[in-house]
């Protein structure tokens, strides 16, 4: 050990728990996510216009208000049907966040359930689940999702289920590994000796101990799911028009990109970028929070 390094001073004057909790909050990701979450929840109250109807009296392709020709009535401009871009972005937050959250919930529940079954029961159940997991991991997820969406037909809830089906494999792999080591721990073995049923052991002793890992994986999946939804909508197999989804808006904007209607491409993409960026940062924070070993590093 080098002589210059001093042991880190222990903070005896611990501040009150509330202040400490506030200090440790991930400010940047929350500052980004909060407006989007509020927009999604209160969309009908915030959005100035109906996102699927033309704004009365507005021109098509009106630019944002600060440009010449811009109009303060439609702050971020209008699209090819003279619909208000800002209103569509606000409602679009709803689609992105619902699909992102619900897709992650479906993937996380499936993956965690299969991971626990595989790890705890073992034997041929383990073999079967792991072979299926390997097979699905080997598939190109987005291409497979496109295929499923083509067959199932476009709708928001179909997309939620499809993305859940495509992204559960990572959970199953990781959770199985955790369960394999949990199964050997004393508290699990004691519960078994005490005569607890398999179901009880899984629900009371295994599940609570793998939930942290599920949460961390979920925080990392949510951005992937949001981008996947935008990609599917962009390709025309995701959320169907006239629903305002960010990916669909980018797809509609593509034909007018050459004409320099930049706001229709830049704003929806920037929204996706910000939300995904915030979930990434939040995921990093959560990982350090929930993993005491990393916290001390």
């Amino acid at each position: 050990m080098s002589t210059t390094a001093l042991p880190r001073a222990i903070d005896f004057a611990a501040p009150n728990p509330l202040r400490r909790w506030l200090r440790d909050l991930p400010l940047l990701p929350l500052l980004i996510l909060l407006p989007f979450a509020l927009a999604a929840i209160f969309a009908p109250f915030i959005a100035p216009y109906d996102p699927t109807e033309p704004v009365p009296g507005a021109k098509v392709f009106a630019p944002p208000f600060w440009m010449p020709d811009g109009n303060a009535a439609t702050l971020l401009g209008t699209d090819f049907q003279s619909r208000d871009l800002l209103s569509r972005l606000i409602y679009g937050a709803r689609v992105s966040l619902i699909v992102g959250l619900m897709g992650t919930v479906v993937a996380g529940s499936l993956g965690t359930a299969f991971g626990i079954l595989s790890g705890y029961i073992g034997g041929w159940v383990d073999q079967l689940i792991m072979r299926v997991t390997d097979a699905w991991l080997a598939l190109p997820a987005l291409v497979f999702a496109i295929f499923l969406a083509t067959v199932a037909g476009p709708s928001m809830w179909n997309i939620v289920i499809i993305l859940g089906l495509v992204y559960w494999t990572r959970y199953a792999r990781v959770i199985r590994g955790e369960v394999l080591s949990l199964r050997e721990r004393e508290f699990v073995q004691l519960a078994e000796i005490a005569g607890a049923s398999r179901l009880r052991v899984i629900v009371r002793h295994i599940l609570p101990n793998v939930l942290n890992t599920t949460m961390v994986l979920a925080s990392l999946t949510i951005g992937v799911v949001i981008i996947a939804e935008a990609s599917l909508s962009f390709l025309g197999v995701g959320v169907p028009p006239p629903e305002p989804a960010w990916g669909l808006m980018l797809s509609e904007a593509r034909s007018t990109l050459m004409a320099g209607k930049w706001w229709l491409t830049v704003f929806p993409g920037a929204c996706i970028l910000l939300v995904v960026l915030a979930t990434q940062l939040f995921g990093d924070w959560l990982r350090i929070r929930l993993d005491p070993q990393q916290r001390n590093l």
Partner: protein, 306 residues
């Protein structure tokens, strides 16, 4: 080693079996496959003909047997739109997709590895901070949106580069960057952490004690050893690129497989869509098998575990 190859190959076969079973089942659970296999707007007798032609009037096990037999003999059906066998279309477009994937990989190596090295050598310096931001953005910017913004800047406003299509290097530059962006960012992260780990090792300390100049230590002793995990990532990269290429090819009108798939979706050309998914899956399983065998050959530890 032969044992490892046999075991690994049998896993791949199981994977292909599950892949075929999944595609087969999904098509049949979600509706009448005849309406998918017949051209849009087909009459009742056309549907009957399609059913007889594809054996859709027989029991499911027989149908599955026929489905697999068709795939194995390379018969993936005829595209409605092109009036050509799907496999022929696929292999016609494959070189274009490979060209784009190769250019994207090259570009991401050229960006990611030097940037990662620079970050690792000057930890917490200006370059490292910039690198961190770039890595974070790389993982959050959707590649297809980056492509659209590149078109906006370099084609629409500056008029330097063509918006799409296939041609010389200028056509390749933007799609390769949009496709390689994500990979470049992950390379940056990995090179940085791998390099940091290597630079803490004993043999680096020894090299420094020997009095070697700093750049020799970094280049010869550090970088060379940090490269191993970086190359491992290149295998994973293929899957990511097959995924991302679909949408990047659409954005830049690049005549590859992704664009073909998009046309298939758009024209309701079901044999084309199903064929591309099958072939893309087979290709990835095959490449993964080759990579695993190659690693086992290089690193004996992999052979012995499990």
């Amino acid at each position: 080693m032969p044992q490892f190859i046999i075991r690994r190959t049998s896993y791949s076969i199981i994977t292909l079996f599950i892949l075929s079973l999944t595609i087969f089942a999904v098509v049949r659970f979600t509706g009448d496959p005849a309406t998918l296999m017949a051209e849009p707007g087909a009459r009742a007798e056309d549907l009957a003909r399609v059913r007889a032609q594809w054996g859709l009037d027989r029991s499911w096990p027989v149908q599955y047997y026929q489905f697999v037999q068709n795939i194995l003999s390379g018969n993936l059906g005829i595209s409605f739109n092109y009036r050509m066998p799907v496999s022929e279309l696929y292999f016609e477009r494959l070189p274009n997709s490979l060209e784009l994937a190769f250019a994207a990989t090259l570009l991401s190596f050229l960006i990611g590895i030097p940037a990662g090295l620079l970050s690792a050598v000057r930890v917490d310096g200006v370059w490292d901070q910039t690198g961190k931001v770039v890595a974070l953005l790389g993982l959050s910017i959707p590649g297809f949106w980056l492509g659209l913004v590149l078109i906006l800047v370099f084609s629409v406003y500056l008029e330097w580069l063509p918006t799409g299509g296939k041609g010389d290097w200028r056509n390749l530059l933007m799609p390769a960057l949009a496709l390689g962006w994500y990979f470049a960012a992950s390379l940056l992260r990995l090179t940085r952490s791998s390099m940091l780990e290597v630079m803490r090792s004993e043999y680096i300390k020894l090299a420094r004690l020997k009095g070697l100049p700093g750049y020799v230590v970094i280049a010869k002793h550090g970088f060379k050893n940090a490269l191993v995990p970086v190359l491992t990532l290149a295998g994973v990269n293929l899957v990511v690129m097959v995924n991302a290429a679909v949408i990047i090819e659409v954005v830049f009108a690049w005549p590859g497989i992704g664009r073909l798939l998009f046309e298939g979706i758009f024209q309701r050309d079901f044999p084309l869509v199903q064929g591309i998914v099958v072939l893309a899956g087979v290709m990835i399983v095959f490449v993964n098998l080759l990579i695993d065998i190659l690693y086992a050959y290089i690193d004996p530890r992999i052979r012995l575990t499990r």
